[in-house]
Symmetry: C2
Subunit: 233 residues, 2 copies
DNA sequence: GGAAAAAAACAGACAAGCCGGTATTTTTAG
DNA sequence: CTAAAAATACCGGCTTGTCTGTTTTTTTCC
């Protein structure tokens, strides 16, 4: 038996994360056009962040990449801060939505035995959406104003993320604490690996680290590694 | 028997990493003053990077924090790029030098059984030197000019780092491949944990991840986890 | 139903502020 | 005295936010 929440489709479950200002089908032409432009701006912003980094992502550049005038962009997002705030939500949404869909398409064998979800997570870390997120996360460490909006969003996303992961990996359903541990561990190790991937040139080196992560997670789930760790807290 | 390289003192072994333009004791007053000023600038730059991030670290701010005029700074580092290049080296030097000294002060029991080196590595990740390094590493991903100088330095540092680690942890002396694997794994997991530490509020959560890392490394060294991973490449 | 009014979407120009680099002047050590 | 070190003044370029003007869509009112 699968619980109800995992039966709704991704878009509906993740409604809480969806970008603001999106239009419904029965809205007028103007509203839909507006929503479309806003999405184009958000996508352009993600591309710019991923390609040029936080410091060189200017409003002019975003407008240019979105194929609209800067004036038009200012109409939708009055200040750069307003835009960035929306981009933060959008990176969360895109990352989780993309990963969730891909993992749900895996067979049970791929997911449970081959741990293919870990490779999917790795692939997600290579998307512009994650690169953009990383830029914002790093900038938020030293920019008070940005941190003030980023941190609450990140923590809320962490909650939603946990619930979504639980729905995607039902084989952990009676080991919620271990799943949390495995998830945190996987996120940390994989994001750290992504940080160093251009420095560690040999593919085998990066692959070896992922194998350790994969085996360690198996041991958290099936052996006593998880119990050992959780008992000592 | 300890090999010769680990008997030299840290400063000498890490000479290859030492900041350029440093003075010897028999140099004249002016040269020593100059070296002192350069160090003050580098330290100020690290502090600025750690406190304000890459984008808001201006030459004016660095000079201000170093208590010198901007003109004086320009005299020592003609362009911002020159300064940043030196700061990259300096962050590598400070991180490795600090960590090496601390780990060498651990008892054999603390190091081999308690895996205290992992905690020392974690502490290193909280220093301004690492925060500054992270800013530069992230900026180098999207800034071609910066990447052109950063990547070679980072790869060279990776080599030196590996040799230094081998000297610090002699209990791995007959398992060089496993040590490399464990080091890479540790770096990835810990840096990823550092990335998420402000988002994961509960201390127990972060502690649990570190326990998994610690136990996994033990299993690479003493059990067959390392063999399993390395065999499959 | 249709014209007028309001609102929204879009475009371009302008100004203040900041940053990095250059040139010039002043100070200080040898 | 002279050469390095340090301080000051200045310039060009870029970025953000504001302002004005134009076009298009929606609403209102007769």
């Amino acid at each position: 038996m699968v619980d109800y929440s995992s039966m709704k489709d991704t878009a509906e479950r993740l409604f809480a994360l969806e970008p603001a200002g999106m239009a419904a089908e029965d809205d007028g032409w103007q509203k839909r056009k507006s929503a479309q432009t806003r999405l184009a701006i958000l996508d352009a912003a993600i591309d710019c962040l991923a390609e040029f980094g936080y410091s060189r992502t200017t409003t002019q550049l975003i407008a240019q990449k979105a194929n609209i005038s800067r004036g038009a962009m200012i109409h939708h997002y009055a200040t750069k801060q307003d835009l960035i705030d929306s981009v933060i939500d959008y990176t969360f949404y895109k990352r989780l939505e993309g990963l969730s869909e891909r993992v749900r398409q895996l067979s049970e064998y791929q997911r449970v035995v081959e741990q293919a979800g870990i490779e999917e997570y790795w692939n997600m870390l290579l998307t512009p959406a994650y690169q953009a997120y990383l830029e914002l996360a790093i900038a938020a460490r030293t920019d008070e104003e940005l941190r003030a909006t980023f941190l609450p969003k990140a923590r809320r996303f962490d909650q939603i993320w946990g619930a979504e992961i639980a729905g995607i990996f039902p084989e952990w359903s009676d080991k919620r604490e271990k799943l949390q541990l495995a998830t945190d561990f996987c996120i940390a190790a994989m994001e750290g690996l992504a940080l160093n991937r251009t420095i560690w040139e040999q593919r085998s080196r990066r692959q070896a680290v992922r194998r350790v992560v994969s085996l360690a997670i198996l041991m958290v789930r099936d052996d006593d590694l998880g119990d050992k760790v959780l008992a000592g807290l």
